[in-house]
Symmetry: C2
Subunit: 188 residues, 2 copies
DNA sequence: GTAAACATGTAACAAGTTACATGATTGC
DNA sequence: GCAATCATGTAACTTGTTACATGTTTAC
C-alpha cells in the first residue's frame, strides 16, 4: 500500500479511470488487454478494489439499470483520486523483486537432461518471439493510425512507450532463450 | 504449488540443496546473492519452507550443536527430493504474469508533469545501468576464473546463463528508461 | 559501546489466484 | 443446444512482506 492505503492495483485502476469512466467489467477488460502485459488482475481483485477506492473517496459510482444483467456500476474518478494518481505517477517507481521461473530453471539446468532442457528453452523462446510479434503488430497499427511517433500527443506517447517496453522485453527474452537452447544442444 | 505440493520456492531451495547441504541461514544467503536477481525469499519464508519440504520427504536435517547460537540445522536433499527437482527443471517454465510498476507509470505518464516524469525515468535508468555493471563485473570474474565460456562444465554454464539473462534484462531496461526520459524531456 | 553477522523461528498482514455462485442475451 | 459475452460479487487458499522475538560472538 502507498499513500492513504492505495495499492499499485488501485493506482492502475485510478489511471484507467482518469481517462474514462468505466464499469468494473470494463476495467477488467483493460487489465487483460492494453494494460495486461505489465499489470493484470482478475475480476475477483478488481471489484473489491473499486469498493475500497470508493470508500477512500477516490472514485464514485452511479448505477445504470439494465435488463436481465445486474445493474452496471459506472465508476468515475473524483478530484481527490485524480490528484492522488498524478502525485503517485512521478514518484520513483519501486522495482519489485523479479521472480522469473525460466531463469531459475536455467540456473538449475545442470540438473536436467541437456536435450530436454534445450527443447524447453527453444519452445519458451518461440513463445516470447510470438508475443513480440503481436506487440510489433500493435506498434505498426499505431504508426499507421497515429502517424509519426515523434508527434504523438502525450497520451498516445504514453501508450506507445509502454508497448515499446513490451517489445524490448520480449525480444531480449527470446534471444536469451535461443542462446541458452543452442548452447545446451551443442554440449549435449 | 506443483507436484506433491512443492512450490517454486520449494524447487529453488531443492536446487540449491542439490549442489550442497545447507542450513536455512545459508539458503537465505544464497537467495540474496547469486540466486537473488531472479528468485528471492526472506528467512521468514525459507524456514517454514524447509520444514514443509522435510514433512514431504524431500529433505532431511541433522542438528549441529553450537556454542551460544541456536543449533544449526544442516539440510540434505533426499533421493526423492533430487528426482523431484530433476523432473521439474525440464518441464515448461510457466511465465508468471509480469507486474512492472515502471511500465505502468510510463503508460500513465501523461498524467504527470513531463519534466518530473523524465527525471524519474532518468534516475531509474541509472539504477538499472548500475545493476547491469555489477552483473558484468561478475561475468568478467567468471571468465577470468573459469576461462572460456565455451568450455564451462554444466554447472558453471548454468550459473553463467542465469547471469547473462540478468545482464540482458538490465541493459534492455536501462536503454528503455533512457529513451523514455529523452522523449519526455524533448516534449516538455 | 555499537553494529553486523550468525542462527532460528512465529505472527500479522497484504496481494494475488482459483473456485464458487448467479443469470440473461447473443451468436454459432 | 452450447459456448461466449455481459455483469457482479464472495470465499478459500497460496504466496510474499514486514514486524515481532531472542541471544551470542566478532569486528570496529
Amino acid at each position: 500500500m502507498g499513500r492513504a492505503g492505495v495499492s499499485t492495483l488501485g493506482f492502475a485502476t485510478l489511471g484507467l479511470l482518469a481517462g474514462e469512466s468505466l464499469s468494473g467489467y470494463d476495467v477488467k477488460l483493460r487489465m487483460a488487454e492494453p494494460v495486461g502485459f505489465f499489470w493484470q488482475a482478475g475480476h475477483s481483485q478488481i471489484y473489491p478494489e473499486l469498493a475500497k477506492l470508493e470508500a477512500g473517496g477516490m472514485v464514485v459510482h452511479n448505477d445504470v439499470p439494465q435488463s436481465g444483467k445486474p445493474d452496471k456500476k459506472i465508476y468515475e474518478i473524483t478530484a481527490e483520486g485524480l490528484s492522488a494518481v498524478k502525485e503517485w505517477v512521478s514518484e520513483p517507481a519501486k522495482s519489485a523483486p523479479t521472480r522469473d521461473e525460466a531463469t531459475l530453471k536455467a540456473y538449475l539446468s545442470w540438473l536436467g537432461e541437456p536435450g530436454e532442457m534445450a527443447a524447453m528453452f527453444r519452445e519458451l523462446g518461440r513463445r516470447h518471439e510470438k508475443q513480440m510479434e503481436r506487440y510489433l503488430e500493435t506498434e505498426a497499427w499505431m504508426r499507421s493510425e497515429w502517424g509519426e511517433p515523434k508527434r504523438f500527443e502525450r497520451r498516445r506517447f504514453a501508450n506507445y512507450a509502454a508497448l515499446k517496453r513490451g517489445v524490448g522485453f520480449e525480444r531480449e527474452y527470446a534471444q536469451w532463450c535461443r542462446w541458452v537452447s543452442e548452447k545446451l544442444e551443442s554440449s549435449g
